[in-house]
Symmetry: C2
Subunit: 238 residues, 2 copies
């Protein structure tokens, strides 16, 4: 049985302030829920809206389709909804490449970037405090389960960069060509905001400004931050 | 002055069937409209909703904010709306790399891919007939003006691939590592559908199956088609 309070909690978790307050987030869809269960992230509650789905998840609570619609952030709820505990961030290692984001704001971009970290084996993603929250439903949907395998830390990016001994690379429109760089085996790659790039404060700390050369005439203004991240992580790992 | 019929035409152009029927498409925003004007794509009509904006565009018709809201596809119309003629496709060259899409369905992905073609100097983008239409407002918004600089052709992809003499590369999950390939100076890169990849019919025509190696353990299921395209075009051009 599901109580009114349980439903209310899930509805509240659509808002960032309640996610932060309770240290909880919501994931929808059988596949995504399974990936999180496998990853060892702690489950608080699991809701399904048919007896058939309940058979796949021993721990599930059966709710009406109306309740599911109320709790879901999707326009077409898929009938499986899990409430998970935000994992406590692990201490960030300095033994490999780290990706850092300076005020990335678009949920789809962050979701794609988390998926890229997973693909390219980047274990630590450092986000400035004003980067979009990674437990935002739109981010979670775009990560395709990769959220379970990347350690994401929100922090004061300036303070973080000031204390690290890793070499710092930042993506700038007029940086040196990434093709001409000899990249070390570990370092930090910093990517900036969609509209403004890397902020002045953060830019001042970066040791190497890099860029992706445009081919032929200069026409396109810039690359989207997620596609630029894809190309730079590929250059780092190739 | 703007007539009821002119407004009705623009409203109708929100639908693909009318865009196809009239050979017209709509672009919103001063920047995007200017890029299209510069590109030589033919303008049919231009609407603005303030006297001030009218000063920037000699050819503009002034409409009320209510009319602009009616015509716009945006939740917050930005007050500049141009109706352009779909350019007739130029014959596709075989002197450089060509990108071909097999049933890419997401407007954001197609928009990002068009922007990537512009960045990497890919002049020809061949789309299978079931690829999302490039004059869809969501695609246009995501291209950031690059639509004006890439020649996009919708065609029977199978027939196109059967008649070309260019070597054909296709992105597959289990293809050969792109890092180990010696890529020619010209060819066709085929990218597949978001959920199903390259179809069987098209796959049968491809001479080289390629893939982007995952780093470390295999965890992430796949890369988004736009980010995979970013990485592969970068590999081709670097």
């Amino acid at each position: 049985m599901v109580t009114k309070n349980q439903i209310k909690l899930v509805v509240n978790l659509k808002q960032k302030k309640y996610r932060t307050q309770h240290g909880l987030f919501v994931v929808e869809g059988e596949k995504l829920v399974n990936e999180l269960l496998d990853s060892g992230i702690q489950l608080l509650d699991l809701f399904v809206d048919t007896e058939k789905k309940a058979k796949h998840f021993q721990e599930a609570k059966l709710v009406s389709k109306a309740n599911m619609k109320q709790m879901s952030s999707l326009s077409n709820p898929n009938g499986v909804l899990g409430v998970f505990k935000v994992p406590s961030p692990k201490p960030t290692g300095e033994d490999d490449w780290v990706l850092a984001l300076d005020a990335v704001r678009d949920p789809g971009n962050l979701g794609t970037i988390i998926r890229l970290c997973d693909w390219f084996g980047i274990k630590y993603l450092i986000c400035s405090s004003d980067t979009v929250e990674c437990y935002n439903p739109k981010v979670l949907q775009a990560t395709m389960g990769s959220i379970a395998r990347v350690n994401i830390v929100y922090t004061d990016l300036e303070a973080y960069l000031k204390q690290t001994s890793l070499p710092m690379y930042g993506a700038f429109m007029d940086g040196n060509s990434i093709y001409q760089q000899k990249l070390p085996t570990k370092g930090i790659l910093v990517m900036g905001n969609e509209a403004n790039g890397i902020s002045e404060t953060i830019g001042g700390l970066i040791t190497s400004q890099i860029s992706i050369p445009q081919y032929g005439e200069t026409t396109a203004e810039s690359l989207n931050v997620a596609t630029a991240t894809a190309i730079l992580l590929n250059e780092i790992r190739r």
